[in-house]
Amino acid sequence: MEHFATLVALTLAAGTPLVFAALGELVTERSGVLNLGVEGMMLVGAVVSFIVTATTKHPWLGVAAGVTAGAAMALAFGVLTLSLMANQVASGLALSLFGVGLSAFIGLDYVSAVVEGIKPLAIPVVSDMPVAGKLLFAHSPFVYLSLALCACVQWFLFHTRAGLIVRAVGESPASAHAIGYSVARIRYLCVIFGGACAGLGGAYMAVAYTPLWTEGMTAGRGWIALALVVFATWKPWRALGGAYLFGGVTLAQFQAQAMGSEIPSQLLSMLPYVATIVVLALISRDAIAIRLNAPASLGKPFHPDA
């Protein structure tokens, strides 16, 4: 049982960056904007949080900086797609390519740096309980934060007036505009929120999960998060489940390597990517579920005059 609790804890830890990134992208897409730059925003969030942590020795300050950096990247994407009406697919790709380049450039001096990361938070007394203590009360603070964020996003989107407006903008921007809402402003806020979440996911990886910085350390998690949003059919709770599923796959790969499996490590490392493809294909087959849940204006630019 103790071993099981450890496995659960490791799965949650591995899935948490995906939870952050996927929730942020989910809100962005609910407002009708497809931002393919998640990978770039995560990397920049990771490198900025790591550099700030390494220089100030305050990891939470680093996390704040990483969130800000992710939001700033998203703002640049917003200017391109919302103010300058650029193609969202191309701009998202640009954001990812730019993020990869920028993070590699500014992080070069920190590749072998060591920081004191954010350790798991064992809640006093209750975490000493056998099994349940480890299972429920001894995770990284980020794990609790991601669960809270998921609950908040769910509540916001489906139980508040503001959430209804966001969904309306995603379904029919022209109608939302006609009854007096500023489509651009609402989309800007959603895009920036998405960037902040991606930055948070990156920051978690750089100052808590590993804690270190290597070039391209997110290893495609931003792209997996994009696939998760489709898998979740744009519902926060399902995104959470999907993220932990992938956390489990990542973990299975490390466990097999640690146990000295005969299978070459490269084949095991392919698992999360192959799993993403399989899951994406299976869920996309259900055309009705996708059409009913996907925001109707996803990826389409909106200009009041055009």
């Binding site: 009406m85 191309a90 640009a94 070459p264 392919m270 990517y273 994406l280 294909a281 996309s284 005059d305």
Partner: protein, 369 residues
């Protein structure tokens, strides 16, 4: 007073060609600011980055050498992009091409195939790239799975596959345990075009692809149908143009071109299989395709520019002690500015003076009246 965007009735053709130039100019300005903020003499730094690499004949050779795979990949990608088929996995298709082409070279070593070997490698590489691109195409048509995500995931899988091969079955037995294959025999290497440089026959292949690309887009019915499918999907459907066929063609052309580019790298400057066969040519080709306006001639010019960015990064590393990662930064910046400048293609900037009634009304609304 504020600036507002006014939709143009038709996209401006002159702006379509002007906006890449504006983007290049803006990128150079950013480079100027970046170099000065890093405490380098900006003019000298720009010289080291953009001029020094191509001052010698060898440098020109390198420029064309690196432009070849970029050109080839971008021509293939553009075929899909024009039809709204977003293949962003050229890097993986290139890797598969290198694996298949390189595999043929290793398997037929010493068999005495003569001149047939290189064409065989090219065919194998193209087939490998196409097979890799067929996966997202099939999943898109069969399951409606997003080809962007699938093709990108396959980049990681391809890189791991190559790493598996060069560390396992294909590892050079005399290679001191380095993860690399044997060096290819001379018959498996592309002939050098310009003595004294590394420029090889790959450039001829790339230029042929550019010419074929032009014929395909401008002179063939299929090319026309694919353009229609991209510009007006509803009209294309009404006219009986099959979207499934468009997806297949768009992906497979991109895969074949990238696969051949992969063989070009393996049989060209590298001459063996290594764990990484390209410094991100497949991703840079996406930028090349956009900066070149998806037009063959534009792609030709844009690939030269992108190649110069690669050389500039290397030159900056030696001459300015700057990390070569600055290349990726410039690439991303260039694409950013291009997309921003593209607003001028579809919109007119208009300065609206707020002295009118509308302005007064807005001021009143702000004051809460």
């Amino acid at each position: 007073m504020r600036i507002s965007l006014e939709a143009r009735p038709q996209p401006s053709r002159s702006m379509a060609w002007l906006s890449p130039l504006l983007a290049i100019l803006a990128t150079i300005v950013v480079g100027f600011l970046l170099f000065s903020s890093l405490g380098r003499n900006p003019l000298q730094a720009l010289y080291v980055f953009f001029v020094k690499p191509v001052e010698t004949l060898y440098g020109i050779g390198e420029l064309l050498l690196k432009a070849s795979p970029l050109m080839l990949c971008a021509i293939g990608l553009a075929a899909g992009y024009r039809a709204n088929v977003w293949n962003i996995g050229a890097e993986g298709q290139l890797t598969l091409g290198a694996i298949c082409g390189g595999g043929v070279a290793l398997a037929l070593e010493g068999v005495g195939t003569g001149w047939v070997l290189l064409p065989l490698m090219m065919i194998a590489g193209a087939a490998g790239g196409m097979a890799w691109a067929a996966i997202p195409a099939w999943l898109r048509n069969r399951c409606n799975a997003n080809e962007i995500l699938v093709s990108l995931m396959l980049v990681y899988v391809a890189t791991l596959l190559l790493s598996l091969l060069v560390q396992g079955p294909w590892r050079d037995p005399e290679g001191f345990n380095f993860p690399q294959s044997r060096m290819f025999a001379d018959a498996a290497l592309l002939p050098i075009l310009l003595p004294g440089t590394r420029l090889n026959f790959g450039l001829v292949i790339a230029l042929t692809a550019v010419a074929l690309g032009w014929v395909f887009v401008r002179r063939s019915l299929t090319g026309f149908q694919m353009r229609v499918a991209g510009l007006a999907p509803a009209a294309a459907h009404y006219a009986g143009i099959s979207m499934q066929r468009t997806v297949w063609l768009g992906m497979l052309i991109g895969g074949a071109a990238a696969g051949i580019a992969g063989v070009g790298e393996a049989a060209g400057p590298i001459g063996q299989l290594l764990p990484s066969m390209s410094p991100g040519y497949g991703f840079a080709a996406i930028i090349v395709a956009f900066v070149g306006r998806l037009h063959p001639l534009g792609i030709l010019l844009a690939s030269l520019l992108m190649s110069l960015l690669y050389l500039g990064g290397e030159s900056a590393q030696i001459g300015l002690a700057l990390p070569s990662a600055v290349t990726g930064l410039f690439q991303g910046t260039l694409l950013f500015f291009l997309l921003a400048a593209d607003v001028l293609v579809n919109f007119r900037l208009r300065i609206v003076r707020d002295s009118s009634i509308a302005g007064a009304a807005r001021a009143a609304a702000k004051a809460g009246i």
